[in-house]
Symmetry: C2
Subunit: 419 residues, 2 copies
């Protein structure tokens, strides 16, 4: 067909690939929602299928294939990460932390530390020797430690149990985990950044940790004390879309600082979003900005990002290390189950409720994918050279683990809840 021919029209190809991606991802997102899964699962699967089809039939549609691998598409996926993390930050309300119970903190810490340690040790045992081995192990630890707040919120909402004690404790613990994982992420990204040097010793890690601490030492006080001052000043401004622009400027400024300190921009975007919440702005301003950010992110850029993650999933790599992928996924489920279920039992929850807590904390979601994407982009999976079966499948293994945990969580919880 003429539309598919190897036309010279670059704009047409870019528009066409975005159109195809958006239509297909949204259709799969819809299917996922109907199966009572987060849309994100469908969008990932859409990316995997489209990536497979495009790769297989690239000789039939060379221009489409080229557009899908262009800098513009990469740029949109990168923009998607930025807006996704900003939105996650905006939706997080710091005051909720103050209200969360001691048992929530206990569950959060347990559900973070155990997977983190298991992931790191697992990496040390199975990964081949290379300059990046420690960074790769740290990555495995962080990947196992992450919990998705929106997945947890959504499942309990579906069950009509959002107001139950167990739902509240899971959501509060997941929030804490997000904040702790922010710090771990920062550490990981700074480590990846400094791995160009190729060593991983106390000497090289000290400046990395110093940069991470410096980042928080600047962004936290500025967020707490300077943001509200600037926000108060908004009402004197009259250019169009003041609030959206100012939120974006804050996120860009934090992202630039993060990059300048060797961290990744996503940490800056997330952090800036966290300090924009209904306690410092009027509710209608918050609602408006949240709605605008949600539109462009969840309606456009996030699906494009998820699909780009799916594009990079490599089944042939997975086929070479199937045991590794399975063990990783099982570890991801068990470490969260034990890590947060046992503290829940200590805190006085019944056996069933402790199980609900342990399962509820297992969903990985979007932040997991962002970190995997950043690690891929930074070249974390390129050493040793050749990488071998396990390192070669590391990215795909993490994505599969994220899909499985995010799919398994609602199914298991629904099953438990009914009994």
């Amino acid at each position: 067909m003429w539309l598919w021919s190897a036309t010279e029209d670059r704009a047409l190809n870019v528009l066409l690939i975005i159109l195809i991606l958006l239509v297909v991802t949204r259709a799969f997102g819809e299917l996922a929602e109907r199966a009572r899964m987060p849309a994100l699962v469908g969008e990932l699967v859409a990316g995997i299928i489209l990536g497979f089809l495009l790769q297989t039939f690239q000789h039939l549609t060379p221009s489409i294939w080229f557009a899908a691998n262009s800098e513009i598409f990469d740029g949109l996926a990168e923009l998607g990460m930025f807006f996704l993390m900003l939105l996650v930050g905006i939706r997080m309300e710091p005051l909720d932390f103050a209200r969360s119970s001691k048992s929530a903190v206990l569950i959060a810490v347990g559900g973070m530390v155990l997977p983190m340690c298991i992931g790191f040790v697992f990496g040390q045992v199975v990964l081949p020797e290379s300059d990046l081995k420690n960074a790769q192990s740290l990555f495995l630890g962080v990947a196992l430690a992450i919990t998705a707040v929106p997945v947890a919120v959504r499942i309990f909402m579906d069950l009509g149990a959002l107001e139950s004690r167990v739902a509240k404790v899971v959501i509060a613990a997941a929030l804490w985990d997000d904040v702790i994982s922010l710090f771990l992420m920062a550490l990981l990204l700074a480590t990846i950044g400094s791995q160009a040097a190729g060593t991983f010793s106390v000497d090289t890690m000290l400046p990395v940790v110093g940069n991470v601490l410096l980042f928080f030492a600047i962004t936290i006080p500025v967020g707490l004390y300077v943001f509200p001052q600037i926000i108060r000043w908004f009402r004197h401004l009259s250019f169009p879309e003041v609030e959206f622009s100012m939120m974006l400027i804050a996120a860009l400024a934090y992202a630039v600082l993060a990059e300048a300190l060797g961290l990744h921009q996503i940490i800056g975007a997330f952090m800036a979003g966290m300090f924009f919440h209904p306690n410092v702005v009027e509710q209608h301003v918050y609602d408006r900005v949240e709605q605008q950010m949600s539109g462009i992110t969840r309606g456009f850029l996030a699906p494009i990002f998820f699909v780009s993650v799916g594009f990079h999933l490599d089944f042939s790599a997975v086929a070479q290390a199937p045991v590794f992928v399975i063990v990783l996924t099982v570890l991801a489920l068990i470490s969260k189950l034990v890590g947060s279920g046992v503290p829940a039992r200590w805190a006085g929850f019944s056996k069933r409720d402790s199980l609900v807590v342990g399962i509820g904390m297992s969903g990985r979601g979007a932040v997991e994918l962002v970190i995997a994407g950043v690690a891929l982009e930074a070249g974390l999976f390129l050493q040793p050279d050749p990488p071998g079966a396990i390192v070669g499948s590391l990215f795909s293994a993490i994505v599969i683990m994220a899909i499985v945990t995010t799919v398994a969580t609602p199914i298991a919880l629904r099953f438990l809840w009914r009994r």
Copy 2:
């Protein structure tokens, strides 16, 4: 300073340039608003100044200069055009046309045809011979014929006279002009597209006109009859941000069709937006999507696009053809004044009110800049080679004309209104 050094960190540079652009444009936008001008005027001026500074000091900040000329920045400006035209379309309510009076139509046609003819003839007289001469003349005609609805609305709002008869007739006429200019734009863009062939005869123009008619023959019935069906189906969908996504998908589909027919994507985006209005969707859905589109467009992408237009303004080119620039600007003002003022007088408006109509129709605004940007990008100003003083200054002349008419309109109207 370390932040400004020629660092290898590409992400840092891209984020930094976006941050700088956004901060500076919004500051200038604010200044413009305080001077009771549209923010767009300030944002253009910011682009001109920043472009001048970056070019002058490029050896001091080579990496920033590089980032400002990167494909990512071009991509954002292109995305800005797309969203800008989509938003203009969304904000246009087709039913307003049915309500507009005969005198509005008369004023619209006069205010369109006269500038169009004057622009084309002026081009034929002053432009040097080349394969692109007719397309360049057509461009001048379209550039003179455009009227900015938002500029007109805003000025009468500032004067507290939005409900006056003269304001209503100006806004209705400006709406008609937007739709007629949509057709002229399509014709111009298809012409530019086909100018690769290098000729401009009946033989080459027939398929161009055929493509334009085919585009409208497809998009109008689909917009009128298929869109409402699809919109009714929305409530059965449950993936996140259904409405925003579906609006974007429609706009992308129309944009792909436009590109496939040799028109520019902006025509597709504009046209898709026009069929999304409160008569086919529930008011709260319309409001939500309009707000989301406005956030990302006016709060982020449009300022980036305006600044990129400012970047391309070339003072040395203007200095070589100052008389051309001045005559063009005077023609832009007079042709609108006479073209719509005289029909207003015929329609029974007083002398003063006819003058208000003629001036109110003069603001050019964002659509003008989009068309100038598209023409620049398509290489319309590259022939003859060397282009000579007039063709070399054509782009800058149109931008200056747009700034002057948009600045002059509110000042003149305020002056007239007070008397």
